[in-house]
């Protein structure tokens, strides 16, 4: 007699898994692209997070975002390396900032606002982690405004992409 272990999954779980899988693919493909400047990445996988946030709410988006970083790091072989710590702290920060942002009264933020906030939180979280764990030198903050500028630019671009995708899947 064998007991089979039965995991009861909800439609929500399936949705999270599918979206996380999609985000992981984008994450892995993007990591193969050369970057013009170290530290700058388009972060297209976050488009998935923003779309999920707008359509299914914060909780699903948080799952998708953090699972994407975890699964992506396992595929790329960077799990628990500094790369992973930076990516994870960035994603964690974004998710934390998006929580109050999607609970604003009225119309609140749209995809562009969410993406911009998430991008800025992401780079700030990464810098803080880098400073605390890897490069405890005040000089690192000289790079911060430069990368923040790129984060703002790419955050807005990702937001606009999300906006267009959301319009089409409505």
């Amino acid at each position: 007699m064998t007991d089979t272990l039965q995991l009861n999954t909800t439609p929500d779980d399936h949705r999270i898994a599918w979206f996380a899988a999609l985000a992981v693919v984008i994450h892995v493909v993007e990591s193969a692209l050369p970057s013009p400047l170290p530290g700058i990445k388009p972060g297209l996988a976050n488009v998935v997070t923003i779309i999920v946030l707008c359509k299914y709410g914060w909780q699903t988006a948080a799952w998708v975002s953090l699972l994407r970083v975890l699964a992506g790091s396992l595929i790329l072989g960077t799990f628990l390396t500094p790369t992973f710590m930076l990516a994870f702290s960035g994603a964690l920060c974004s998710v934390c900032v998006l929580y109050p942002a999607c609970r604003l009264p009225g119309r609140g933020f749209g995809p562009v606002g969410f993406s911009l906030l998430a991008a800025m939180a992401h780079i700030s979280g990464q810098f803080f982690t880098a400073w605390m764990l890897f490069i405890p030198h005040p000089g690192i903050w000289q790079l911060f405004p430069v990368l923040l500028s790129f984060a703002i630019l790419l955050g807005v671009i990702n937001g606009i992409i999300s906006l267009h995708v959301l319009k089409r899947i409505k």
């Binding site: 609140g108 933020f109 911009l116 490069i135 030198h137 005040p138 405004p145």
Partner: protein
Amino acid sequence: MTRADLFLLLAVMFALPFVYQASWHNQGTAAQAVILNGKHEHSRHSLHEDRRIEVKGPLGPSHIEIKQGRIRFVDSPCKAKVCIQRGWIDQAGTLNACVPNRIAIRLSGLHEQYDSINY
């Protein structure tokens, strides 16, 4: 784009120059200077004591001056004199070097022990 998006974007664009200013102009004044000669540390000096230091490099002696918490190259036997043109430096974490003569000045704050950790 919603109104909140636009407002956020404008606020961010407005704040960005201040972030640049805060990170690039407020490193804190340095407490001490480390003078490097080639790969080796030549000497360390507090920036609170005014003095002149002579360091012998491969090209000849370079003269460095400390005055009122700042430090500069006064004279160096290099051709381009880039190190002298840099003028006074006083921010923690800054570097000035006479590359042809292999002499560098590094300013540090009080608590700085290392500048990078690698795993």
